[in-house]
Amino acid sequence: MALKIVKGSIDRMFDKNLQDLVRGIRNHKDDEAKYISTCIDEIKQELKQDNIAVKANAVCKLTYLQMLGYDVSWAAFNIVEVMSSSKFTYKRIGYLAASQCFHEGTDVIMLTTNQIRKDLSSPNQYDTGVALTGLSCFVTPDLARDLANDIMTLMSHTKPYIRKKAVLIMYKVFLKYPESLRPAFPRLKEKLEDPDPGVQSAAVNVICELARRNPKNYLSLAPLFFKLMTSSTNNWVLIKIIKLFGALTPLEPRLGKKLIEPLTNLIHSTSAMSLLYECVNTVIAVLISLSSGMPNHSASIQLCVQKLRILIEDSDQNLKYLGLLAMSKILKTHPKSVQSHKDLILQCLDDKDESIRLRALDLLYGMVSKKNLMEIVKKLMLHVDKAEGTTYRDELLTKIIDICSQSNFQYITNFEWYISILVELTRLEGTRHGHLIASQMLDVAIRVKAIRGFAVAQMATLLDNAHLLTGNTQRNGICEVLYAAAWICGEFSEHLEDPMQTLEAMLRPKVATLPGHIQAVYVQNAAKLFATVLRKHDGETESQAAQETSQLLIDRLPLFVQSANLEVQERASCILQLVKYIQKLQQKNVEVAEEVTALFAGELNPVAPKAQKKVPIPEGLDLDAWINEPPSESESEDEKPKAVFAKEEPKHSRSRHTEVDEKELARRREVRKQEQANNPFYIKASPSSQKVYDAPGVEHIPVVQIDLSVPLKVPGMPMSDQYLKLEVERRQKEKAERKKKEKKKKREKRGKERKADSGPESEEDITPAHQVDIVTEEMPENALPSDDDDKDPNDPHKALDIDLDKPLADSEKLPVRTHRPEALKSPAEDRDSESVPQETKKKSGKEKKKDKEKDRKRSKEEKKKKKKHKEVEEELLESQPEEAVQSEETKEAAAPPTSTSAEASDLDFWLSSAPVPPAAQEVTAPSSAAAAVDTSSAAAPESEPDEPKDTEPEDTKSSKHKKKKQKKEKEEKEKKKKKRHHHHHQHHSDAGGEDSVQNGTVEEEEPLPPMSNYSLLAENSYIKMVYDIQGNHQDESKVVVSVIFENKSDSFLKSMEFNVLDSLNSKLQRPEGAGAHDSLTVPFQLPPGVSNEARFVFSVQSIIMPQKLKGTLTFIVKSDESSTHEKLDFKLHFTCTSYLITTPCYSDAYAKLLESGDLKGSSLRLEGINMPFHHLLARICFHHHFSVVERIDSCASMYSRSIQGHHVCLLVKTSDQTVSIDAKCDEPSLLGNVLDEIKQTFSKC
């Protein structure tokens, strides 16, 4: 035995290690493959040994060979063996090999699940790290499902090294197992505020990656990211966040408005080019999303363009490249601002760097105008000639075509020039884009009627010189052009000068070497040409020419009849027979021209590419419905359908054929013409152009300057340049003429103001060389506008399009292995997954605690004083001891402005909140207005609860709620001990008032009257104050009073100070250090006619009674002449309603609550209520912060919760203008007051 071990280690000594292998390979340069194959044999031997060190060494070598391209999947099992070694050294080798060569198809992956789980929970952080790294490369759906829970636990690991890896890998897990996203998301979100910057960065990374694909689900995180953006100093994180905002802004323009300022600041302040560049990019995205009607953003555009110009002018090619890239984004929405940098961009076209030239090309697209198109294209054509690589040249070609054809040939003034450009492009060797050129030719010839004559002449030349295009088989791509040439010559053959010659060219034997589809077009169009030739010689009796043509066809067509291509064969044989027949007729001197031409009569109109798709399905047509009754199962044979086809169908078709005679046809044609004339979507040929066809003379086309026949036949000569020269001359002439006219006018208008006409020629001044009427593409009537048919259904990210804001259902939790020992579980795991956020929140809460320590010390003294008060109050108000603690909490928490405010406040509110820049808000910390940002005053769309509709099994839900309750109690106890700031992190609890309006009216038809919760506070001739009070769902003893100040005067109001006389029960929260009677400064001034909102936080002890507080607003009225000191008294009315918070409730939990017997009842009757039931509910929801639990006809149950946790349940019934409300609450006086307030609400209307 001992001998064996010794022998093993000696063997090992002589094994090659990785270095030896590499060395060996380097020394066998001539027979590398052979050497490696012997090495692989050795490795196979080594893998057979028991010694794990030998195996690991072998696997290490395999990893190297894998890099060289050798398939090592045969060793997958050995890799798993090495992975499961207990030694870190070997484990690492195993995982590395696995990450290099395992993939979803590797079957041994199944075996690794337990090993990986073991490594993940290893006490050694590097074992865990290595496993995470490896897993990130080969995670499969099965592994993701089985390990999701373990990884989620690791996200709260004590070591940041593990936390950040666990956070990152979650992205891969989400991709493979989308169901894990919702349960894991709350924890992931927490990691955004992890104390370790690496973990934070990882979380940002993952969320950005998720949000990039499905941005709308992550909009609600915008406030949080905004906070990170304004506070983070890590450029990596900043870049990611800024990129993310770029993806979010298109969905929410308000976000863009909010972003502009901080981003502009960053642009000005940062020295990191990468950050600057991303800021510019996102500002551009913002500007695009705001593109309409934001004149004051022109400064931002200018800033961006100016910064980009600096980048482009930089000597660093990378910056130049990126500058151009970003510039092209601006171009789409703000072409004007980019156009002013034309010089710079044209300069970049000459750059030696291809990447930069390509980017500059992109930009050119938006630079062209009628004026400079020819010039720019000329420049590009020069580049085409110079370009050596085919890729760049092809890119140039497509760009030229793109530029010219953009927006319906908008910038082309001379189509002859364009056709010549296209013809010149056909001379490019080896281009792949023959098809593109061909389609342009077709497009222009069909849609620009005036150009047809010229186009046909050019195409005829092309056909004549076809050998130049097809001579080389390598140039295959370009022969597509012949397809277009043949078709154009055939279709518009009336413009051909010598159709006979073209016909001859099309029937040359060489044509048979062309691709089949081109031959088919040749054959078909030869027939068209034949018809034209016949018509030309019509009337000449015994025309020799016509008969010669027929003979030509009969001679040449058999070549095509033999074609291997079916299409060619079929067409050729049809036409051949036809021509033979015609020849017979010709010999009998029968006039045939008319009939033959009729074969090809009719105008072809261009049809939009998506037209077919957009034909709307006529009303009442169900394409899935059976046309005939489906054969019933019992019927033995398909007799019925047989009968249909056998008897009726032939009759129909026969009758169709026989009945349609000439007259009928003529009549129908007439009708159709009529129809077309009345149809606005049918594009008619304009009478002028029709005239041109009748007289195929060319005087309409101003080609006088060029002798067409001569230069075009010389394929090497650049034609388009001539047009450019001509164009310049023409424009100068026109300009001169215009000037003359202008002068005339001036003379007439002498004495009047001078006109500035000497400036640069404007777009409109350039008239097209000839009147072209561009036929627009046909679209079916009522075409459907939808255009979103380009989404890839196979995108793995589609599965991650998951609403993350909906509260978690019970069924949604990560699979946990049940047979695991209970002790191993973290407390978060065995609880309902919903409680996870709270659980982990505590941890991060602890970290925050440290920061607040200082504040607390200061507030301690204050607390001591207040304790005395509290004891008195406790007796007075019989409040529960818990409440006392809570209020103490408040004092503590209210002192520092809540740092997590943005997180809890919902998006809408955040977006619409104070116009004060939020960055500034964070700086001006202790102002109470800022401290109150986290009110719940606005709706919380993300928490829009669908509970009533939920189809979850009932018992699980109620148990959940029970748990929740227990948890709450526990938490409160903990709070006592820890005295830490408390946050509600439940998604449930932050639905706001407006939200519940929707709640009550989900399925209703009738629109609701507008409602506002703001009521008048006080008013005088200078100022009007309205206010609303909302409970703060973050803090159980705070309410937030939002006051809107409106300046009614013509003067400027400033130095507004708000003060309230505190009562024992309710106190205005003042900044630290301020006395109990000091007033608060309103953080803004009011210009005339302006209104603005400020928020004030009040702490309350008891909430069961309504209360009124007296207060005063003092302010200075400043007009031009004087300034006076004014004051306005008011009474703040704290209703019991304002202590209620809209809280959704499951119906089963609601039932449990009512059954529990803890609640005391009361009831209310309202007479003469004359409004729809849903309006009634909506009013209760809106004004009194209730939510509808369930509604059945004219009966609804509603629920709300006070900030101190009292349950309030209502049962509302209505019949004939009488509404009865039965209510239950665990605090009778609170209930009584709420009911009184409800009564008041309805007495008002």
Partner: protein, 192 residues
């Protein structure tokens, strides 16, 4: 997301390949060849971005590379990554290699591909940037190396001695081949 990280030398010989998306081995080699073809024909003073090759990625992907002495470091990334950020990341990675190998040169990468992988694993994980702080990366790598040492390492002392003996017979020891100035030391660029 980073889709792939490729390191190859001036002749296109791969020194490290790391794909974050599965490709079969022959496809991987094709991608390396194509990428090398694209990158190698570019001058040193042109920009470091390339629209992705046809095999890897597509329009959404970019090749971002740096050329140090004899080696090309190529990252294939999608549009969620900041171009300049990745350039800096490459710099961080190379500087880390330089620290870990003490004046890194191509030979270090050739003979210690596994170690380069371990270093890379601390920088990028599963296609996402894990850490950009060089000191942190170096610290983690060193801790792991120390752990390996405490376990005796893969190639223990006797084995190394043997391999030294084995080398005696070789006509040339690659360590001594003069490949000129292949130290991958680049003046530190503007701080990120």
């Amino acid at each position: 997301m980073i889709k792939a990280i490729l390191i190859f030398n001036n002749h296109g010989k791969p020194r490290l390949i790391r794909f974050y998306q599965y490709f079969a081995e022959d496809m991987q080699q094709q991608i390396i060849r194509e990428t090398f073809h694209l990158v190698s024909k570019r001058d040193d003073n042109v920009c470091n971005f390339l629209e992705g090759g046809s095999l890897i990625g597509g329009s959404d992907y970019k090749l971002i590379y740096r050329h140090y002495a004899t080696l090309y470091f190529v990252f294939c990334v999608d549009s969620s990554e900041s171009e300049l950020g990745i350039l800096d990341l490459i710099q961080v990675f190379v500087e880390t290699l330089d620290k870990c190998f003490e004046n890194v040169c191509e030979l270090d990468l050739i003979f210690h591909m596994d170690k380069v992988h371990y270093i890379l694993q601390e920088v990028v994980m599963g296609g996402m940037v894990l850490e950009t702080n060089m000191n942190e990366i170096v610290a983690q790598v060193e801790l792991q190396n120390r752990m390996e040492k405490s376990e005796g390492g893969l190639s223990t002392a006797p084995a190394r001695a043997v391999s030294a003996v084995k080398n005696m017979n070789l006509p040339e020891i690659p360590r001594n081949i003069n490949i000129g100035d292949i130290n991958i030391k680049v003046p530190s660029l503007s701080p990120f």
